[in-house]
Subunit: 357 residues, 2 copies
Amino acid sequence: MPELRRDPITGRWVIIARERGQRPYDFIVEKDKVKGGFCPLCPGNEKTTPPEVLAYGRPDNNPNGEGWDLRVVPNKYPALIIEGALDKRGEGIYDKMNGIGAHEVIIETPDHYSTIEELELGKLELVFRAYRDRILDLSQDKRFKYIIVFKNFGKSAGASLEHSHSQLIALPVIPNRIQEELDGCLRYYDYKERCAFCDIIHQEQSQMERIVWENDEFITICPFASRAPFEMVVMPKRHQSRFVSMDDAQFQALTELFSETMRRLNAVVPGVAYNYMLHTAPINQDALEHYHWHIEIMPKLTTIAGFEWGTEFYINPSPPEDCAQILCERGTLSREEIQDGQPEHETTIDSQQVKKT
Amino acid sequence: MPELRRDPITGRWVIIARERGQRPYDFIVEKDKVKGGFCPLCPGNEKTTPPEVLAYGRPDNNPNGEGWDLRVVPNKYPALIIEGALDKRGEGIYDKMNGIGAHEVIIETPDHYSTIEELELGKLELVFRAYRDRILDLSQDKRFKYIIVFKNFGKSAGASLEHSHSQLIALPVIPNRIQEELDGCLRYYDYKERCAFCDIIHQEQSQMERIVWENDEFITICPFASRAPFEMVVMPKRHQSRFVSMDDAQFQALTELFSETMRRLNAVVPGVAYNYMLHTAPINQDALEHYHWHIEIMPKLTTIAGFEWGTEFYINPSPPEDCAQILCERGTLSREEIQDGQPEHETTIDSQQVKKT
């Protein structure tokens, strides 16, 4: 029998429909590599991007030159533009404002072919530090209310360049999806006087059914009401509403856990396209008792069709318990050993098994 | 300068980013036909579907035989199942219930290759009458709270069969997306004592910028805060909260307008994949002053990526005003003549122009 599950934060329902005949291994990962050609993100081509706003690993006296470990540049085709005053207007029943915002590209590595799970830990930590530094800098701009960091990997997940990069958009309004989470968390807090995410972490640790990986500071789970196979969420174990509040120990722990998480996803469905999105408290909202930052990871394995568009219900053919177990077992360690925090990098994959249908 | 626009019903923001360089004609419609082979929906194969729950155009004494104009059958691989009692349970912080519901397939025509815009008006009207008849029948089941009717056309829009069909899912809960509309409409009504959709129709008729087609009873517009190029919404001009309340004149008028709307979409972007979704008031909620049923039409021309997932913001490169004008001008009539209600079927299309990039 299929099961309806409700996300405790947003109230969104999903249908876990194991009976529809697709097991987690049945997904075909279509080859959807982004086409090659000239790469504006590669070393040597720095002059083809807008001037950088941040660079790590290179002497400061050579801006927009080579020798960097990571660069952040404005998007050449921005969805929003940085110059101008906010101008909010009505037009009868409709509301609009001009498209003020920032749209930046975080070039995660100089190596064109390196994927995020292949980065050395020291280099991956720079990616998270760049997210923090750019959020802190843009937060000073009084026009902005929210900053979303996200990554599109693979053409079907919306990437238009192959070179490993993430993006950041600063917005003059709080987006609906975030407001929905804030409202849901506040309702829970009003009722329980506890953070809903903290309660989720405790329940997951006691149920031991949906944990993919954890260390002292962070945990990765397949959420109870997963919208798609191998959906994951990464959460700090300490209650913390803002990504930028992380200390050094947390940066290091997040890096280790995230690297392992992405390596496991790629071991199970090699080359899968995915999106990840950082959800943190809005700008200028100090430490919130009721909100908890997190990273959502959405592999692109199912299609959004009329039912999903029309209802915001999702049909997920693979229970998150099965997905978490597969993600755990891809290594040689047992789930118990994995939960002791030993990283396991020697995962192998039987590609015959993955591409069954 | 890009523009931020807010949907007056849901509060969802979109970015209309004309500057990103894609004009409405620049979209490549990828060939994503659903693969052929044995078709369980074709005449002669009636025994390969679950037994029909409705058929039009055939003598009643030959159920599941040939000779029908339209059939409705349970989905062979249902997302929810019809037998059983609802069993709502908690599991710590999580809520779940068993997957009770109905999942049916409306086989719109016996002709395997006919698309919805190619159906004769008399046949298309049967499709809408089948939606009504099935909604009325399933509404008697006290376990159900909402019935969503939708159509997936083209593989990238989630269709798995080529033969023209739509689907219906009866749900034991009201979906988030619908509740969001109901809440938004109620807030508006509390403030204005008017229906938000009625106000939208009046404003669109006075602005004359986003109307695609209209007749005495119905209107098609490209919504002010369109999420994607050529998004459209079809609304009855009379205030009406339930699809099933339509009278005969409305069925006929809806059929004419919908046929013309889909023909125009297909003239502008031939073969485009799309979804449409019927939004009507929940079951057992009698005529609501604040809600207005409608059909959302979403062509599949852009990709849902990390930004959209993470925020529910959408980046739309084509202003709805431009899209509406293109949809109007694809015929030989002027916008004014079109608004006089003369249908125009002799649209021609320069395919070179459509597939520019």
